[in-house]
């Protein structure tokens, strides 16, 4: 079986080609799609690529940073403005995956993959989706992910935009794996916890591998609001840690195990404990 590869100079044209052909898939880094092709997935007849330079650019614009969907993990690691994402990009795959895997592709990575998408959720990222007929639509990443797996959702992700955090360590991130240094997530947790006058205000917490797509941990966020970052302050959040989650059972962990340990890893993340 062979597939047809089509490369377009603009995201517009690529989006149109994608929309006009049900058997077309957008090809970014290849770490997801080539797996499917190597396994003989016959539902893919056409691969659409984009050579648009904007697709691979990182642009700092005032309070926000826009990351082209074709930006790879190594490109993030080489960019100082994105230092807050370095701890996340560094644990995606091994070195030879990080030279291929892209930001846009990570948004489509099925659970238990998609650690970067979880971090972007905690950063309150927005996604730019290029429509088939010229228009582009910006939407919150959370909204994008919730509709991701619906058939015919259409459009092409051209970039992701994040507000620049106050400091590079403002994003807390933890990936739980069985093997080190490289392993697939049992789960991952990302948290952005602004503290004003000793109290958390506007917490954003996201999980990877705790549902079919990365999700916001809304119950945890609510329980953290107005609390202090200490053992007593976070106790209600820990009690709510598994609320709203629907993890899978796979070769790495059972759903039961994931729900059972998420509070432990959340505590370690919030209190900055090792292990």
């Amino acid at each position: 079986m062979t597939v047809e590869v089509k490369t377009f100079g603009s995201m517009n044209e690529a989006a149109a080609a994608l929309a006009s052909n049900r058997a077309a898939r957008f090809f970014s880094g290849g770490t997801l799609l080539m797996r499917a092709i190597n396994e003989g997935d016959t539902t893919i007849a056409t691969l659409v690529r984009a050579s648009d330079p904007a697709y691979r650019q990182i642009r700092s614009e005032g309070a926000r940073i826009t990351i082209g969907a074709g930006v790879r993990m190594v490109d993030i690691l080489a960019n100082r403005d994105l230092a807050f994402l370095h701890p996340v990009a560094r644990v995606v795959g091994g070195p030879a995956v990080r030279t291929m895997a892209t930001v846009g592709g990570n948004l489509f990575a099925p659970s238990p993959y998609g650690d970067l998408a979880a971090a972007l959720l905690a950063l309150d990222a927005t996604v730019m989706v290029q429509g088939a007929y010229g228009g582009a639509q910006q939407m919150p990443l959370e909204q994008f992910l919730s509709g991701r797996d619906r058939a015919g959702s259409g459009g092409l992700v051209s970039s992701v935009s994040v507000p620049r955090p106050a400091s590079p360590d403002a994003l807390r991130f933890r990936k739980v794996t069985r093997v080190r240094p490289k392993g697939v997530s049992v789960l991952s947790i990302a948290a952005h916890l602004p503290v004003t006058g000793g109290r958390i205000a506007g917490a954003r917490v996201a999980y990877g591998a705790m549902a079919p797509t990365p999700i916001r941990a809304r119950a945890v966020e609510r329980a953290l609001e107005g609390r202090s970052l200490d053992a007593a302050g976070i106790a209600p959040a820990l009690a709510a840690a598994a609320e709203g989650t629907s993890p899978a059972t796979d070769a790495l962990a059972s759903a039961w195990y994931r729900r059972e340990v998420v509070a432990i890893h959340l505590r370690r993340l919030l209190l900055g404990e090792g292990g």
Partner: protein
């Protein structure tokens, strides 16, 4: 469906090959060019035995669309030795018994080369990280890590008075 001609440099030599749509680079190297050094392990990007360098970066040949390699420089384990002289990494792998069945070896060598090209004096942790995408089921990794560290120190030694020692 028509085949697409692709030209690239392989270990310093120009190559041209016809590829099918959707064909991966690993196939193009093995069946198209006859370079059998990169192996097919999982076809999923999990095992790392197809690791090659593309424009100096380690990438997985089985997940690389061959058509995207036009005009690029590819390095495989076949290009490591200089005639009868083994590359320092190959010599170190031999000395340290870092290959048993050998299936992971070419991928390990290329992952190690990518590391040493960028970081001539890596720590043990750097080495473990560099080969973290390469699975070996025989050695338990320790001989491989030792071999890479040894190759690095010997290379640094050869460049005595140069960069190897100038680095603090």
């Amino acid at each position: 469906m028509a085949k697409t001609p692709v030209q690239f440099r392989l270990n310093g030599t120009d190559k041209a090959v016809f590829v099918d749509g959707g064909e991966n680079l690993l196939n193009a190297l093995r069946r198209g060019v006859g370079d059998m050094s990169a192996k097919f392990g999982c076809g999923q990007g999990t095992c790392g035995t197809c690791t090659v360098l593309i424009d100096g970066e380690p990438q997985l040949a089985c997940l690389t669309l061959a058509e995207t390699c036009a005009g690029r420089a590819i390095e495989t384990a076949l290009g490591l030795a200089d005639g009868p002289s083994l590359h320092p990494l190959q010599a170190a792998f031999m000395e340290h018994f870092a290959a048993q069945c050998g299936f992971c070896t070419s991928g390990m060598l290329m992952a190690a080369k990518a590391l040493l090209d960028r970081n001539p004096s890596p720590t043990r942790e750097d080495v473990a990280e560099a080969i973290s995408g390469n699975i070996c089921r025989c050695t338990g990794y320790e001989p491989i890590i030792n071999a890479i560290l040894d190759a690095a120190s010997k290379r640094g030694g050869q460049a005595s008075g140069g960069q190897g020692h100038a680095r603090v």
